[in-house]
């Protein structure tokens, strides 16, 4: 270790340069990872928090099912009669509203049956109540945007007036904060035409999907048979994320950026250590001539790489977290400590893998080249 540190100090300029590159790569990976999680949450957190295992869509549409497909009441009740299945209709639609105090908000209205497993309840105020059909429970970000319990919220253009009865935690769909309403209210929002005044009873008894809770051992064949009976296409909750607007595209973009960074990291570190090893071949030959074992040279090359990579990724991680703190309020950025640690661990590992490329060269340095220099 003594020698490794002496060498580090002797070449501190180069190692600092290398360290800063690692810092930047690690920070970039961290930031991209924060945006991946943040954007993902912003698109599907409302779905993720549904305590459902599966979602049944109307058969016939393969993308954007929440917006395109409609299932009717019978489908929901039919699914509910399946053995060991719980089913409840779910409405999802994007809309806009204005509070009595003039705050304008975008919102994703989630229609749920009060008391069903999809009902989020309320952290503050009162939960949805079938007896008070005009109630709305808003999620955290709407509260941040200025919507309060007790406000009235008018759905733009439709003139439907709702009472904010409660609030619940962070929940978003398609980059829009979610508000929960009863299925009846949801049908009014979804099916009322601006200007027309249809009574709820005259509106179609249809919903975006059926949220399902199926036993863990539900087989694919049984699922397919049930789908045929009810005219639906059932996917797991996770697969249903893809039905959220933009989810797949965003993920693809972010993961490809991340993959490139994971490719770049070992190449950068590897290239640096390759140049560094070639540069100090005469010194390695001298160390071998003085009796240093191969293992020792490998050990201290690795120790140096590990130190630079570890210090670099740690600093990069701190930088990414700082960026997260700075921009987290304005943009969807979420970098939990575990994600950060896992990401940085991966960066450090691939970085070290890059050094491994040069280890062979270190191991095969011939001490006799020193005599060549002396001739």
């Amino acid at each position: 270790m003594f020698l490794a540190l002496l060498e580090l100090r002797a070449a501190r300029g180069r190692f600092l340069l290398m360290g800063s590159v690692v810092v930047l790569v690690a920070a970039l990976v961290g930031i991209v990872s924060g945006f991946t999680t943040g954007l993902g949450d912003d698109t599907v957190s409302a779905l993720r928090r549904l305590p459902a295992t599966h979602v049944a869509f109307a058969s016939g549409s393969a993308s954007d099912q929440f917006a395109r497909g409609l299932v009717d009441d019978r489908t929901a009740t039919g699914w509910g009669r399946e053995e060991r299945a719980e089913a409840t209709p779910l409405g999802v639609t994007l809309t806009r509203g204005t509070t009595g105090r003039g705050t304008e908000v975008d919102l994703a209205a989630f229609g749920v049956v009060p008391g069903a497993f999809t009902d989020p309840g309320a952290d503050a105020g009162a939960p949805l109540d079938a007896a008070r059909p005009g109630g709305i429970v808003v999620s955290r970000r709407l509260v941040d945007e200025g919507v309060r319990v007790g406000d009235t919220l008018t759905v733009d253009r439709l003139g439907i007036t709702l009472d904010v009865v409660g609030t619940t935690g962070r929940s978003a769909y398609g980059h829009v904060p979610v508000a929960y309403v009863t299925t009846d209210t949801w049908r009014r929002i979804r099916f009322t035409v601006p200007g027309a005044t249809a009574r709820p009873a005259e509106l179609p008894a249809q919903y975006s999907a059926v949220a399902l809770r199926l036993p863990p051992d539900a087989g694919a064949a049984a699922l397919a048979a049930a789908d045929r009976r009810h005219g639906t296409r059932t996917v797991t909750l996770e697969q249903a994320f893809a039905a959220a607007p933009g989810y797949d595209g965003e993920r693809l973009t972010m993961t490809s950026i991340q993959s490139f960074l994971f490719l770049i990291a070992p190449l950068v570190v590897g290239a640096f250590f390759a140049v560094w090893t070639v540069q100090r071949t005469p010194e390695l030959a001298l160390l071998r001539a003085l009796g240093a074992s191969r293992r020792r040279l490998l050990g201290h090359t690795l120790a140096q790489a590990a130190l630079v990579v570890a210090a670099g990724t740690a600093t990069g991680g701190a930088l990414a977290s700082a960026v997260g703190l700075l921009v987290g309020a304005q943009v969807p950025f979420s970098l939990p400590a575990t994600t950060l640690a896992a990401t940085l661990g991966a960066v450090a590992l691939v970085g070290l893998a890059g050094t491994a490329l040069t280890l062979r060269r270190v191991a095969t340095v011939d001490p006799m080249t020193l005599l060549g220099a002396a001739r």
Partner: protein, 224 residues
């Protein structure tokens, strides 16, 4: 206690550049004696030092250092012999860049598995002995060629090796410096009782040496 070289044959290079650098060379070197190794350029002096110092394995023959045949050892054991038993001053390229004179010595201690801190005082003593007390914190690029060689000598002496090998210590050094270096080598050899072999062209060194071995007329030779 001695270095006994027995019927050493060394060929270097491959194909057209293949050269027989040593051909059945034999000689015995005694402890506490500085032997000057002389012979024209290309006669195999450096090659002989490399073989004696366990850097190069001969094609044939034995290198008996106090009874162990260094030529018969494996790669790992030869590395161990180099760090524990041999002090080697190369003709050039002796020092590690960026390290101070003192650190050059401590690095060697660390390679040999010794605690650098425990040898710091000794390192300073040796550097003083080679006349570099005022250069402890200088790095190679801040030192003259002769000073660099004296540091290498101090480093070779740090662990009191049984065998001290020095290649052309006075090349490109003025006469008075050469005399100082030769005297230093003789003095340390006598003091530490090492088997010392110095490859040289320089009459200053040959005159100071206790014995001389001529590459062209080795004392014990077995023709291959």
């Amino acid at each position: 206690m001695s270095l006994h070289l027995d019927a050493l044959t060394v060929t270097l290079g491959r194909g057209d550049s293949r050269t027989t650098a040593l051909d059945g060379f034999g000689a015995t070197f005694r402890p506490g004696v500085l032997t000057a190794l002389v012979g024209p350029s290309g006669s195999g002096k450096s090659t002989l030092l490399a073989v004696a110092g366990a850097l190069l394995r001969p094609d044939r023959g034995r290198v008996l250092l106090n009874g162990t045949d260094l030529a018969a050892l494996g790669d790992r054991e030869r590395a161990r012999a180099r760090r524990e038993r041999v002090g080697y001053v190369f003709q050039s390229g002796n020092l590690l860049t960026g390290l101070t004179a003192e650190e050059q010595l401590l690095a060697a201690a660390s390679i040999a598995g010794r605690r650098p801190r425990a040898l710091r005082a000794r390192a300073r003593e040796l550097l003083t002995e080679v006349g570099l007390a005022h250069r402890l914190a200088h790095r190679p690029d801040q030192l003259s060629g002769g000073e660099r060689r004296r540091i290498a000598l101090a480093r070779a002496l740090l662990l009191e090796p049984e065998l001290l090998l020095v290649d052309e210590p006075t090349a490109a050094v003025d006469r008075s410096r050469a005399e100082d270096l030769a005297a230093l080598l003789v003095r340390t050899t006598h003091r530490y009782g090492s088997v010392t072999v110095v490859a040289t062209h320089d009459p200053v060194v040959t005159e100071a040496a206790d014995a001389t071995v001529d590459m062209l007329r080795p004392p014990v030779s077995a023709s291959a």
